[in-house]
Amino acid sequence: MKFNIIAKTRLWFTISMLFMLLGLFALASNWLIKGKAMNFGVDFTGGTTLHLRFDNLVQLAEVRTILAKYGLGESVIQRTEGNDIIINTDPLSTEARTQIMSDIQTKYPSVLLLEADTIGPVVGRELRSQAFWALLLATAGILIYVAFRFEFKYSVAAVLALVHDATITVGLIALMWRVVDTPFIAAILTILGYSITDTIVIYDRVRENMTKPGASKKPFADVVNESVNQTMARSINTVLTVLFMNLSLLIFGGVTIKEFALTLFIGFTCGAYSSIFVASPLIVIFDKWERGR
């Protein structure tokens, strides 16, 4: 079985474009309607998050009444798994938090404080710039390494595929309005790592096939297509094993890890797709440009 992937480049790029536009659209509309592009958690915005567990179902309105006593009636109160609720509010001092907790405890003696995070606004800003620099530097590092081991056109194509993966993952998470905190950055970087691995395995095969006798006589598109097909079994098997692990984290994992796993799931699927259907056709296009000049 052999697929002619390069011949259908236009189809693959259309699919990618649609998803990227969907992601960008989600970011833009969130920004216009909700005031921020993504649902940034306290890690990024600063504030206090309280994760509470109750024995029985509590009315969110009643919790809000308690918070309103402290001028925090505008807090975001959400229900999560079971009878857990998560409260997001302005940064609270330890005293204020203790006071609020004891008020809630008076009303609901069964309440259990699972997690309380208070992040100053300065920390949030620091983290945002940290995330930005980490992403930029990691990408630059990959660009340089790939250019060094392969050719410049390969590294540009690989990085464009990474931008593709990042845009779609960020966009879809924004679309689903999932909370974005520090682990999200870790997830995005892992996705980039995986995607580049996938791409490199294919590029490595192209590099090897180009050194074979007679390779220079064949059109470059054919060599790339052959390489993609030769590595196809590996690509499919690897993505399957990784997605097994991921799916199991998504279904059975704890609350915190689920969010993480969801991001990875989207990203890995994207990364596997982009290596075959974006990064590989791109080097063929770049090669044509190179020759055209």
């Binding site: 699972l114 980490a134 990959i142 870790a186 395995v201 030769q230 994992g253 609350v255 993480f260």
Partner: protein
């Protein structure tokens, strides 16, 4: 032999050096404190080092096991207290400046309302100021008495020791003892102030202002001030450890209850097991005997990985576990790359020994390049990240290196040994691949 060595070595390390669990897994508290300038003191390197030292003393006195106290940047201190039961109390003990002052004072005359700041200075000397001594009962202020604070005569640094005690009415108090020099000053001050109050001030708040009945020469005194027993104990901790050289404020504070940690770790363990089981089944069904060897290599990989993490004393956090599980995926991928290659090499009609050698050699470039690029991402995270992100980067990096090692040496050796032992004897052995026909 090497395989056995790695195997046994890893197990010994894992048994002897348990991995620390992060706050998110065992519960606890994480604080980031930032020192700030005041009119009298500026934040500098020495001051922040001093803050770290004082906080360490206070935490040790609280009896928290395995706390971490680290400087971050030029004026921040990160404190992590695993498994602590009452984090709010700890935060108070750690974050209070605990600047203790003994101030010569005088009760203000009845018409204190007309006293301007200027007049106070005129009558009672430069630096004198008006304040109020408040009496509390059940958290409410029940009486206020104006007092004029003249000058600080002794501070917390003149203390030799502090102990919790009780006064003659059975109320909790703090017993203190001054140093030799402090005792002399105290004797002097009490001699010249008989009948007048001495204000005891903690962090700019008057805790009490007892009147001096007679000169006190022994260098011992008692601080009373409507304390609860807990407060007395905490105050003793703070006085013994000394005051913070500069005040700090809490800019980040995470409290993770032990329930959430237990919850996450149990669920993630279970999820990891299911994921692993899937991979094992898939590898053995699809790749047969080499798949089985890959699973063995994977077991060694996991042991080696955990052993390295234990050896470099990593603290395992939730993203760390995720990073670990993900590198398992990578280690499997490395094996898949090799086996797919082996399949191709066998198709070209090479003998089994030659095919194994060529496939490992050819797969090497792809494996190396893919591992290095991921390592670049992990290194960036390690370099720029903090806290949990850093933990994630560590497990990821260790995982990548261990994966490179096990796939290239252990899987390789086991394959060659199998050929030598004639377990795989021909290219069309049933053990090799499903649906493989030459």
């Amino acid at each position: 032999m090497i395989i056995l060595g790695v195997f046994i070595g890893s197990i010994i390390i894992i048994i002897n050096m348990p991995i620390n669990l992060g706050l998110d897994l065992q519960g606890g508290s994480r604080l980031v404190l930032e020192a700030y300038d005041t009119d009298s003191v500026k934040v500098n390197d020495d001051a922040v080092s001093g803050v770290v030292a004082v906080i360490r003393n206070r935490i040790d006195a609280l009896g928290v096991t395995e706390p971490t106290i680290q400087r971050k940047g030029s004026k921040q201190v990160v404190v992590e207290l695993p498994g602590i039961k009452d984090p709010d109390r700890a935060i108070k003990v750690i974050g209070d400046t605990a600047q203790l002052e003994f101030v010569e004072a005088e009760w203000a005359p009845g018409d204190e309302k007309v006293l301007s700041e200027k007049k106070v200075q005129e009558f009672y000397g430069k630096g004198a100021r008006l304040d109020k001594v408040k009496e509390y009962r059940g958290g409410e202020v029940i009486s206020e008495r104006p007092i004029i604070l003249k000058s600080t005569v002794l501070t917390g640094s003149d203390l030799k020791g502090a102990w919790p005690g009780i006064d003659s009415y059975g109320n909790p108090v703090v017993d203190i003892e001054f140093t030799g020099k402090g005792a002399d000053i105290f004797a002097n001050v009490t001699t010249r102030n008989v009948g007048k109050p001495i204000a005891i001030i903690l962090d700019k708040k008057i805790i009490s202002a007892p009147s001096v009945r007679e000169p006190i020469s022994g260098g011992r005194a008692q601080i009373s001030g409507n304390f609860k027993i807990d407060e007395v104990q905490d105050l003793v901790v703070k006085l013994k450890a000394g005051a913070l050289p500069v005040p700090v404020r809490v800019i980040e504070n995470r409290v993770i209850g032990p329930t959430l940690g237990r919850d996450s770790i149990d669920k993630s363990k279970f999820a990891g097991m299911i994921g692993l089981a899937f991979i094992v089944v898939f590898m053995i069904i699809y790749y047969r005997y080499p798949g089985f060897l890959a699973v063995l290599a994977l077991v060694i990989y996991c042991l080696l990985n955990i052993a390295i993490l234990a050896l470099i004393r990593t603290t395992l956090t939730l993203p760390g576990i995720a990073g670990f599980l993900l590198t398992i995926g990578m280690a499997v991928d490395t094996n898949i790359i090799i086996f797919e290659r082996l399949k191709e090499e066998l198709l070209t009609g090479k003998t089994i020994t030659v095919a194994i050698e060529t496939s490992f050699k050819r797969a090497f470039a792809a494996i190396l390049d893919s591992h290095v690029t991921t390592l670049i991402a992990a290194a960036t995270l390690f370099w720029l990240g903090t806290g949990t992100i850093k933990g994630f980067a560590v497990t990821l990096s260790v995982g990548i290196v261990a994966s490179l090692f096990t796939a290239l040496t252990i899987t390789h050796m086991m394959m060659s040994m199998s050929v030598d032992a004639k377990i795989i004897n021909s290219t069309d052995s049933k053990l090799l691949y499903r649906g493989f026909h030459k």
